[in-house]
């Protein structure tokens, strides 16, 4: 009870911080522009002549997030360390976990808001045809979970450094690996080089697990994958924060 109050206090502060700086507005505008552009121009939404968002809209999300989520997550701990407020935060009567979860939750909710603001696409497809809204909903859930996994990785890299730029680049590279591990061209190469490893490597990819959600399937294994990436990453963040202080 009290613990959640502490988490929520941190979350509120962090959310406030997004909206008092230009980050939130820049991010949302860019995200929406990208979504619109790729869906209607590159994704060929109209040319496909089908009432579905899977290919033209959701297919791009892993790539958008690759750049945008590290940008959201990079400041979480790096900024606290640079300004020195981490010393205030971690000497307050809260546990490090409450701070970590609170901060993560704030960014994740922010991403949820950005994602929710893509609703005109859903309205458009419903206006033009008769899509399976259940599939759209599961795809949205999958997309949000995937964003959460990227974000949790950004938490780690943000805790590693005082520099937001370094944090951004490292998390981008890690997330890129998570995409490429399941990216068809990479899988094809891997099949020729080391066919036995294909399944193992692909199982680490967000692409493989996002695929299920895009088809409208809520597979427990996919759900568990994203949640365990988040859980593991936040745990790693707590270890990193502790080792910094242990000296």
């Amino acid at each position: 009870m009290n613990a959640w109050h502490n988490v929520w206090t941190i979350t509120k502060r962090e959310l406030g911080a997004y909206f008092t700086s230009p980050i939130a507005y820049v991010f949302i505008v860019i995200f929406l522009l990208l979504c619109g552009f790729f869906t209607f121009f590159v994704g060929g939404f109209f040319e496909r002549q089908e009432a579905s968002l899977v290919r033209p809209f959701f297919d791009w999300h892993p790539w958008f997030y690759l750049f945008l989520v590290p940008a959201v997550g990079m400041r979480l701990w790096a900024e606290e360390r640079r300004v020195g407020t981490i010393e205030l935060l971690l000497t307050m009567p809260i546990t490090a976990w409450q701070a970590i979860v609170g901060k993560f939750l704030a960014s994740w909710l922010f991403l949820a808001l950005a994602l929710a603001l893509t609703f005109p696409v859903v309205i458009t497809v419903n206006y033009l045809g008769d899509p399976d809204n259940g599939v759209i909903l599961t795809a949205y859930i999958g997309s949000w979970l995937m964003a959460g996994a990227y974000l949790a990785i950004s938490c780690i890299t943000s805790a590693l450094t005082r520099s937001q730029v370094v944090s951004f680049i490292i998390s981008l590279v890690v997330c890129l690996f998570l995409i490429l591990a399941g990216f068809p061209p990479v899988i094809n190469v891997l099949e020729q080089v080391a066919p036995r490893l294909v399944e193992l490597v692909a199982s680490f990819s967000v692409m493989t697990h996002f695929e299920g959600f895009q088809r409208g399937v809520l597979d427990v294994r996919d759900l568990l994958f994203f949640l365990s990436v988040i859980g593991f990453s936040l745990f790693t963040t707590s270890v990193i924060l502790r080792t910094h202080r242990a000296g």
């Binding site: 206090t9 406030g16 911080a17 307050m92 202080r245």
Partner: protein, 317 residues
């Protein structure tokens, strides 16, 4: 309230704090002195629970800072070095956040924020973003955060750093006033602050405590303590010092200054003079034109130098 026992803190193989023990009771203001890098900030970071100790224990209000971290931290208000604050928030927002995370709700929170704002004179910048504040205001904002829950224990790392002389004075007054009811530990390298605000002072050097006592006790360690300064007119310096060397209590005489026909000399007492030196010198000087004659109380800066840098202090004296 604060009890530090055999505290050590290592960074890699470097010992930042080495076997430090002391305690601070309610009603005490402990000044923490030391050269830069002596381990003041590290000690404070361990006391507030930011850094875990490598060895030894710290208890605050009876709670171990590691075992019962949350209970111990509730009792502490902390002003870190350089007074960090969330730059994207307004002063009001920041203080509200601090109050809320300290578990204050509703009216209690409003009152706490108002009290802290009043105490630290922040009304005029209340709705300004922390980013746009001058250093003095930013410092006071962080200070306000540390007292928002009216803590029993205050840990202040260089609370007057970066303030102008008036603000320094205000903060010292504030510390002394609050010190009547709380246990306060604050670090500084401005020695006059020790006199202005502390009931007790600790000098720390290279991670170890090298002196611990009231400002008065520390001052008596100075060889200046009990020395007599004399200024006379129209007498040659050599005559003055020859005459003073004949006074039985005098150990050593130095000529401080000689200009415009005025000579200033300082006589250091032999041990056991016990303040009788001034009278003896007054007698010896009775046929000169004496402009000034007074006994030195001992100087903290000289004690500080002689303790933390024994070699250079002698040269300077």
């Amino acid at each position: 309230m604060i009890k530090v026992q055999n505290l050590a803190k290592m960074f890699g193989t470097k010992r930042a704090v080495d076997d430090v023990s002391f305690s601070v009771n309610r009603g005490e203001v402990l000044g923490f002195l030391g050269p830069n890098g002596a381990g003041k900030s590290t000690t404070m970071r361990v006391i507030t629970g930011f850094l875990p100790p490598s060895a030894g224990t710290v208890t605050v209000g009876g709670f171990d800072i590691v075992e019962h971290a949350i209970q111990a931290r509730r009792l502490i208000g902390y002003l870190p070095e350089n007074a960090p604050a969330y730059t994207d928030m307004t002063v009001f927002g920041f203080l509200n956040f601090a109050a809320e995370i300290r578990g204050l709700r509703g009216d209690a929170r409003k009152q706490a924020v108002n009290r802290a704002v009043e105490m630290c004179f922040l009304e005029s910048v209340l709705h300004q973003s922390v980013e746009t504040l001058s250093k003095g205001y930013r410092h006071r904002t962080c200070f306000a955060q540390s007292v928002i829950h009216d803590p029993d224990v205050l840990v202040l790392d260089e609370p007057t750093d970066g303030l102008d002389p008036n603000q320094k004075h205000e903060v010292r007054q504030l510390i002394r006033r609050m010190g009547e009811k709380k246990a306060i530990i604050f670090s500084t390298h401005i020695l006059e602050e020790v006199d202005a605000a502390c009931t007790r002072a600790i000098i720390i050097d290279r991670g170890k405590i090298v002196a611990n006592g009231t400002p008065q006790e520390l001052r008596q360690k100075s060889e200046w303590s009990g020395a007599v300064t004399l200024r006379v007119k129209n007498v040659a310096a050599s005559t003055v010092s020859t005459k003073l060397y004949q006074v039985p209590l005098v150990k050593r005489v130095t000529v401080v200054d000689e200009k415009d026909g005025r000579v200033t000399v300082r006589a250091f007492p032999k041990s056991g003079a016990n303040g009788a030196l001034a009278a003896a010198i007054g007698e010896a000087a009775h046929d000169w034109q004496v402009e000034q004659l007074h006994t030195e109380e001992g100087r903290l800066d000289e004690v500080f130098r002689s303790i933390t840098m024994p070699d250079t202090a002698k040269e300077a004296a």
